[in-house]
Structures are given as C-alpha cells and as structure tokens.
Symmetry: C2
Amino acid sequence: MVDEVDGENVNQVVDQGKGVSDTPGYELPLLLFGAFRTLIDRLHARLAEEGHPDMRPAHGFAMQAVGAGGATASEIGRRLGVSKQAAGKTVDRLVALGYAERIDDTHDARRKLVRLTPHGHDALHRSAVVFDELRAEWVAALGGERVRDIENGLREVVPAETAFRLDATSWLGGA
Amino acid sequence: MVDEVDGENVNQVVDQGKGVSDTPGYELPLLLFGAFRTLIDRLHARLAEEGHPDMRPAHGFAMQAVGAGGATASEIGRRLGVSKQAAGKTVDRLVALGYAERIDDTHDARRKLVRLTPHGHDALHRSAVVFDELRAEWVAALGGERVRDIENGLREVVPAETAFRLDATSWLGGA
DNA sequence: TAGAATCGACAACATGGTTGACGAAGTCGA
DNA sequence: TCGACTTCGTCAACCATGTTGTCGATTCTA
C-alpha cells in the first residue's frame, strides 16, 4: 500500500541528468499505440495465413459490432459511434467480402438484419484465439504478474466506457 | 530477478472460476487503444482551448515528421510511412491551416522545403507540455512506480523501431 | 387515424490513402 | 561532356471511410 513515497512523484522533475528526470510524457501515447499496433498487425498477419487475407482492422471492429445475434445497420452505427449511413457502407464491404449477409426482417419491413456468415464467425473465433496467444507471448516475455499490472493500471486510467467502445477506426482520421 | 516463478505463467489457464483464469487476450488491445485514445482526445481538447481548434491527430503526427529543421515532402512521406503523394496532400492541409509553409530550395530547384510556422511550433510545444501534464495525472492516479512499470513493460514488448514510427494515422484505415 | 419516429438508401462532399505517369532538375560514369 | 539514372513535386484516377441532408416506406403512438 505504500507506493506514493518513492521520492519521485508527480512533477518533481529534477532535470539533473536524464537518469533522474521522468520519462517525457509524449512517450506514453507512442508506446501505447505501438503496442496496440503491434498486436493488431500480428493478428492480421495470422488471420491472413488462416484464410482471411482481406480482413482489415476495421472489419474486425465492425463484426464485433454485428455481434453473435446480428444487428441492423442503424444499431451497428450506434455501437461503432458512426452514422447509420457509414455503418451501411461498412456492412456493404463485409457482405462483399463474405463476412456478413443481410436478411429481411419479417416483423418490420423497414429493417434488414445483418448477420455474420460462417466465414465471419470463423474470423471472430480465430481472432479471439490469436489474441489469447499474443497475450501468452507477453506473459512469456514479462511474466504474468507484470502483464496483469499493465492491464490493471490501464483499467484504472481509462474510463470503462471508453475502453470497450467500438468506434476505434473512425476516430483517427476524421473530426 | 526472480519473476517467472509466481505459479501462473504462460498458458496455465486453469478455467475453474474466473478468478483464477487469465484475462482474455482481446482485452489487451482494447485497453491499450482506449488509453491511447483517451490521451489523444484530451490533448486535442486542450489544444482546441488554446488556439488550435482545427488541429487533428493526423496533423500532430505530420508536424512531428516535419521536425524542427523542416523537411521535404518526400522525406515526410518516408518518415510517416506513406507515399510522397500522400505526404504532399497532408502538407497542403498543414499549409491551409497555417501550420506549415513551403520554401523553394535555393540549392536544388526540384526540392521545396516544408517548414513549420510559428503557429505550428506553438502547437508542437503545447502538445509536449500537455503530454507531460497528462502523464503527471497518471502518476497522481497510479503512482510514479506503476507508470514507469507500464512504460518499461511496453518498451520490452514493442520493437523499438515500431514504437517511434510516425505512420500512425495511415495505418488504421487502409491496407 | 394523424403525426412523429425509425429504417435503409441515395447523393454530394471531405479526408487520407493508393498507383501510375510526367517534366524538371540533379548525379554520375563512360 | 553527354547520356542514363535517380529524385522531386505534381497531376489524375481511384478506393475506403467518414460526414450531412434528403427521401419514401414503414411502424409506433397519442
């Protein structure tokens, strides 16, 4: 419980030789993004080997938004934090790639249910397996405790609703 | 040095109640991205308050690629990991926003040096300050030691040349 | 039953990428 | 010195993803 007394807190940057000075703040986002990016790159390298060469990060997020039970384009848009029009276009691409299909809703003629195809389910399942394997590599490199420390630290610092928001792709490019 | 003997290594997932089982691997990328995203969102909220309302994450990366001494569009493209044409378009936008300017090279008539304007330097300087402040907030929340542990852990797990690559923006959307 | 809300689609546009091609300019070897 | 590369910036066409606004069809609801 005693962890605020290690003599080098908040902004007591001493600036006497780099050994004492804190890590510059800009490294944190670069390390976080680099780690994220490495995981995603390796995931897609693996997926490409296993029958999903055309899958992109955006597709994974979109398929997660479709979910096991399917969803409408509007609902997918809400989950991804984009407009229903943008979601509709993304679904177009998923359909073109064979990851999803549209089915008329018999109860509501306005709606079209988007469902994952077996190919889509396969991609999602393989992704989960690969992510577990990648985490196991981290554990092999850092030890289980340090990986858990990283996860727990990040959980404390990122708002829960932010961590699991699916609108990952949209946000970098645009507004 | 003894950190591989804590009884729960690599894939000894026991699957007897979730307390013992490891965190699912897919959480790691979500936490990393959530943390990155939170930092970047907060940076740009601050920058918007301080005279840079139109600055986007992509602009920050591009300006970093321009650097203090300036660079040509081709060089910027190399640093960002995109084509020189894409870099040229990005520079167009930086120029339009007043963050950069193009200057003819007197020694090589093919080249046009891209340099940051004072407005651009201001944005970069403010970004560095804000990132330091955001890191200080993490230190206040987690303690200096845990933040350093996260940074060091990530450094071990992400290849050094990946962490500081500047082609962050390009990568999510496209191939 | 009339008005409001929702659904999917279309159109027009911005942004940020890609390739391919091109002329102008610099480099270098025979 | 001259010809063959190479490099630089730019243009054009295209793709992928977003945005707003509009629309007809349908469903919900007061």
